[in-house]
């Protein structure tokens, strides 16, 4: 039979071990949480430190120089990014918003459920596959890379974000508003577009802006569709067009120091564009699904 002393020691040891485990647990939580966030700060720090030396008006407006010939500018890429975002919004937004409305209005129909699931799948879809697909169905028939092809690729990437945020914004509206509209004899069209859409406007706009910020930073869909253009600003919808992320991707892989510096400068511009859109939106709403 254990003596009372042994029993006490055993209990004390057990409690000590449990306390030690708890302390190790808490320290681990803190360390891993920091490890999860530190890369963000280091990325922002690196991009700022390495990108600032390149920044100037000439850098924003000029065109790409020859290898080892200074910093020149990334004007065509900036112009191209705005053209592509504008065009892809033109193509993608109406389809996405209306598909989102369908999904929200008919959640129990087979098509409504399938649409929701498909949109969620497309949200995680490898974007390189979109680029190759658009190359096959747009670029090859057209005979050249083009702004239109790039915009189409980005529209495909953008649509799931916008459609899902539209659907979720509409679903958050209490059912009583819908009932009130119907009780006044309004048609479903009027209920949706005059009442619900106005109430959901903020949520939908948020989704649209996040979708646009997202596609402004996309590289993979553009690899085989937009073609890239580092010296011509805009030559028409059917001609190749530049984009900041595409330029960065290509310059990183070049063996020239000035091209690497330009890549960092372009990364700073891209990051400022992204954060400039994203942070204000994010501060206004609770959470974002990405």
């Amino acid at each position: 039979m254990d003596s009372p002393k042994n029993a006490t020691n055993s209990l004390t040891n057990s409690l000590t071990i449990r306390i030690i485990k708890e302390k190790i647990f808490l320290i681990s939580i803190a360390v891993f949480t920091a490890a999860a966030i530190i890369p963000l700060f280091h990325i922002i720090y690196s991009v700022i430190v390495r990108g600032i030396p390149a920044l100037s008006i000439e850098f924003l407006l000029g065109s790409l120089p020859a290898p080892n010939d200074g910093l020149g500018g990334i004007g065509p890429a900036i112009a191209g990014t705005f053209v592509l975002v504008f065009l892809s919004s033109l193509i993608g937004l109406p389809i996405a918003i209306l598909a989102g409305i369908y999904s929200a209005e008919y959640p129990n129909s087979i098509l409504g459920r399938l649409t929701k699931t498909l949109l969620q799948i497309m949200l995680e879809f490898p974007t390189i596959l979109v680029g190759v697909f658009v190359m096959q169905v747009v670029v090859i028939p057209m005979g050249s890379y083009s702004a239109l092809a790039g915009a189409f690729a980005l529209a495909i990437v953008m649509m799931p974000y916008v459609a899902i945020s539209t659907e979720e914004a509409l679903k958050e509206i209490p059912f009583t508003y819908r009932e009130a509209g119907f009780s006044l004899g309004l048609s479903r069209f009027k209920v949706v577009f005059h009442i619900l859409m106005k109430m959901a406007r903020k949520g939908i706009l948020t989704g649209v802006l996040i979708g646009m910020a997202k596609v402004a930073g996309e590289t993979a869909p553009l690899l085989f569709s937009a073609g890239g253009s580092s010296r011509i600003y805009f030559a028409g919808l059917d001609k190749p067009v530049g984009a900041i992320p595409l330029l960065i991707y290509n310059l990183i892989q070049q063996p020239y120091e000035n091209y690497h510096q330009i890549a960092w400068g372009a990364a700073l511009v891209l990051m400022l564009i992204f954060l400039g859109i994203f942070i204000p939106i994010r501060l206004k709403i609770k959470e974002v699904k990405l």
């Binding site: 949480t33 999860a36 963000l40 008919y106 098509l111 399938l114 879809f125 390189i128």
Partner: protein, 300 residues
């Protein structure tokens, strides 16, 4: 059927149409290489590009291997970070800090991947090579996992860690949402029995285990589909090697690097489409599985 519903159908159909058309395009364009090489396109590692079609041979096994290897590394790296972040945000962060942590999480999730790529290529790789890879190589090069001398630093490990950093915000969002939904009474019950914070958290994490698994699966799907960042750090070499330090290829980086000159060759485009098809199907299967598990846990 009412007119409103009919009016919306075309737009819903467009989304379905794009998806079906995409899948069709990949299947149709893969048929040529399937006819010529059968499944050896997926089971061999060869890339014999020749202007004489008779001599051409392609096998994307090294890319499939690289995709799976780097994505598994990413998930292994990401799991402790994601869970810790989720637990810290829900249980321990002061309200104001909690808000900012979630914002930072969302910024990381949405950040353009090419920015991760440039940081990975110029900052992360030199760091990993000099402070992680070489020390491990010198000490443990007799172990196959560490047996490749990291001359450049472009490697499975670099790609795996970068992908891990990129998918952590995504996985932690899923885990955090699940953790937040644990009924408060469970926590109270655990503490009322004298559990330490470690023990209570362990119980609660056990409760949301299916959601954690779903988060891992979805993070894996996202990692395997990444193109730009990984192609800048993986080394882009036709290589099948067990060492973390060896350079390799992934399916997406193979496509990104090779498609530009594929049209010179008779069969290369078809080979690349078949690689894309495998990525398509892997991604589809992984995402459906992850979403199914998440949904079942929420309604189970």
């Amino acid at each position: 059927m009412e007119r409103f519903k009919l009016g919306l159908l075309p737009f819903t159909a467009i989304i379905f149409g794009i998806f079906v058309l995409m899948l069709s395009v990949y299947i149709i364009n893969s048929v040529e290489v399937f006819h010529r090489q059968g499944l050896s396109i997926y089971t061999t590692n060869q890339w014999v590009a020749s202007e004489d079609p008779e001599k051409e041979r392609y096998g994307v096994l090294s890319a499939i291997y690289g995709s799976l290897y780097t994505s598994i590394l990413a998930v292994i790296f990401s799991l402790p970070l994601s869970i810790s972040f989720a637990v810290f945000v829900i249980d321990y962060a002061p309200e104001r800090l909690k808000e900012w942590l979630i914002i930072m999480n969302d910024i990381m999730a949405g950040m353009p991947t090419v920015i991760y790529g440039i940081w990975g290529a110029f900052i992360l790789i030199p760091f990993l090579r000099d402070f992680i890879m070489y020390p491990l190589y010198r000490l443990l090069s007799f172990i196959p996992l560490f047996s490749f001398e990291p001359l450049s630093g472009y490697s499975y490990l670099s790609a795996g860690i970068l992908l891990g950093i990129m998918v952590t915000p995504f996985a932690s969002s899923i885990i955090r949402e699940a953790y937040r939904m644990v009924p408060f009474t469970y926590r109270e019950a655990a503490f009322s029995l004298g559990a330490t914070r470690y023990e209570a958290t362990k119980i609660l994490l056990g409760y949301i285990k299916p959601a954690i698994v779903a988060g891992i699966i979805l993070a894996f799907g996202r990692a395997i589909g990444e193109t730009v960042a990984v192609s800048l750090v993986v080394g882009n070499t036709f290589n099948i090697h067990p060492s973390l330090f060896a350079p390799g290829y992934t399916i997406s980086s193979l496509i990104a690097n090779q498609f530009g000159n594929a049209f010179i060759y008779r069969y290369m485009t078809s080979a690349l489409f078949s690689a894309g098809l495998s990525l398509f199907l892997i991604g589809l299967a992984v995402n459906i599985l992850g979403m199914y598990m998440l949904k079942r846990w929420k309604h189970g």
